[in-house]
Symmetry: C2
Subunit: 456 residues, 2 copies
Amino acid sequence: MDDANSGHALLVDLYELTMAAAYFEHQIDCRATFELFVRHLPTERSYLVAAGIESALDYLENLHFTDSDVKFLRAQPAFRMVSDKFFAYLRGFRFTGDVEAVEEGTLVFAEEPIMQVTAPVLEAQVAETYLLSVVNFETLVASKAARVVSAARGRGVLEFGTRRAHGPEAGVRAARAAYVGGCVATSNVLAGYRYGVPLAGTAAHSWTQVFPTERESFQALLETFPEQAILLIDTYDALLGAETAAALGRAVPGVRLDSGDLVEKSRRVRQILDARGMQKTKIVASGDLNEYKIEELLACGAPIDLFGVGTDLATSRDVPALSVVYKLVEIERDGRIEYTTKFSDQKVYWPGRKQVHRFPREGRYSQDVVSRAGEHYDDAEPLLGPAMRNGKRARAQRPLAEIRAQTLVNLDCLPAPYHALRAAPIYPVRKSATLDRLLDEARERYLSAPRATRVK
Amino acid sequence: MDDANSGHALLVDLYELTMAAAYFEHQIDCRATFELFVRHLPTERSYLVAAGIESALDYLENLHFTDSDVKFLRAQPAFRMVSDKFFAYLRGFRFTGDVEAVEEGTLVFAEEPIMQVTAPVLEAQVAETYLLSVVNFETLVASKAARVVSAARGRGVLEFGTRRAHGPEAGVRAARAAYVGGCVATSNVLAGYRYGVPLAGTAAHSWTQVFPTERESFQALLETFPEQAILLIDTYDALLGAETAAALGRAVPGVRLDSGDLVEKSRRVRQILDARGMQKTKIVASGDLNEYKIEELLACGAPIDLFGVGTDLATSRDVPALSVVYKLVEIERDGRIEYTTKFSDQKVYWPGRKQVHRFPREGRYSQDVVSRAGEHYDDAEPLLGPAMRNGKRARAQRPLAEIRAQTLVNLDCLPAPYHALRAAPIYPVRKSATLDRLLDEARERYLSAPRATRVK
């Protein structure tokens, strides 16, 4: 991959670096494990499609501070009391830790670790912001894509959202994530260049407006792109546009409708095309589509072959953020493991390193159990596996098309009720008894000798 | 600026490049004007704070295709019929056009052009995707920030959203835009490095968890950052945490609350601190805050000095996209101007190049008139000015702090009713009679000789 910002150490919240400085100055070099997970699923999502893990691993492999990064930090007033040694350390900083992660395309649920980072505490801390950001966003879009693709019932979904994504770079990441989630192609050219996502495109209204007549604009586009041109027929009047396209006397790969009543229009356009023997001409629909609208269009029998989905997909408009967090779960100090958690206000999370086990029944997923790492179940598949060892990738990167194919298999393994777009049941995820005991022990330890000891 | 992706010509929707190829192959080289504007304001926004314009100008100044970009495009099946000349042209491609734009920080409303691009049609077309994406996103965040800052009534707002932004690069752009919209600082270090946004940070729960006691964690942080440390006091129990901080026997710059009932907690924490003579210790609140929650906290009298706002700000969670569009409004061909528009389905936009005039009354904004470019009003301020001439910036870049200060002045000029967080009235924007006439003429021309002429 070739992400210009990958490994950029300043793409981080300041507090990761102030804590890093303070860890360094106080010689706190215990080995720590942080887990990255989604605290709870929003009501609009009954499952998530994990993504962003390759972005995270790229970052960890390339993470370093340049001379100018270090110079910038040193000049910050906050770092005035920090020793030269820390800045010298930063100059040579690399991530040397281990990462366990699920494969991209894995379905995940609330409180299931997606990544688990074990490293000297300073290194693991510095990585927090970037890891949260890429896993949050790419998982968000892959999950939205899976819903849209599911609603399209076998018709192709094209990702068209870069113009409304949160900046052009978000558009590239969204395009990749949407493909991981099951889209067939994207309009974002850099996603094709960088990740190999298949590309698709049509034409804009401006193309038609530049010509004296719509007919001339269609002819010109077909001359240059005889096998790919999708004619945008609704610049002036979609049905007249369809008739113009049908009367060109040549093969038209496709036409696109971008506004209005898509059920009625697609039916009439189909009739116009078919009357001219153009059964092979595909109808592409776009215009603020999402999974709900696509479900409705198909329920009404709209003869649409491909859906172009932009804003709702690239921004996950109904749920533009997940409750991803990155929590310290254990520390190894002087050869002893300490299990950490916090108890403030409904934000409890189970301490200790974990594994997620997925139990199948008749070829479908039936339930998950989150256990302590090392627990084993004969009849379940463990989801977390070694992704990085000593700062280097520990498994080969799979081709993106293979990840996408696996996502579709995974989605097929999720029982039908969980695919409902609205009011889907909650997939059962339980904690193992051993993991529960670890939490109880931590709570007892805290209650008997609270770490926040009253001092007056 | 130093955006790694600026000028990256492949950060574009494929159709801009297929249209470019087809314009080239058909020797369509008219000069075209596109206007970038927001079609309508969402009900949750009564004004927008324009941003993203500097990102757009950076892009236009740097836009070029590398050898490997061209090689990639040439290998795409869609471009099979495209001539070598086009690819040679791309290799030397530069944006040579003119841009009119409002200044960043200007308040804008629906259907008011934010940017106006005039260039050979191919160049103006290629720029569409990137310009929409940066103006959409940065305007979105600057506008959200202005609402949050307004709700905070003079207390500082810190932007903390990178971890939930749509990828880390979106976090950097969000940090800059939030500052343009009135925030006082960001946690995003790269935004400090690249744009000079002031930085702020505290500490995470993990910092406290690593130490045997909370007290030791506080002491250690204060040793390294005596003048900046903000102690996060709610890892275990916020009130015990506050007592621990108050009993350290040294100055504490600030404490942070990140969960629970912030009204009750901030009051009791303030009492604990004040009882120890720590009136100068600031209370920072965070945890899924937004303008509505801040308004409520302050209405309840919560003694909070600074608000850290993350997800809702960096994703503009309630409105994660604007209806930004980029529309062809006129073409100059053989010395003649043609005014273009389209009439399909409620998506009409006035043809022709425009100017926006803002009329003051007693030092406040009273109404806007959108006119044809060249119309003049003695008693109004024109908002669009020359930003680029022949592909080069035509005005000096203002320091970011100056842009922010101007935003605050502009917000102050917007009458109070429009600042209501809910159900604010609609600011009056009218079209000039001359502009209306141009639309009528275009409609008449279309009705008398529709461009989508029925051909059978």
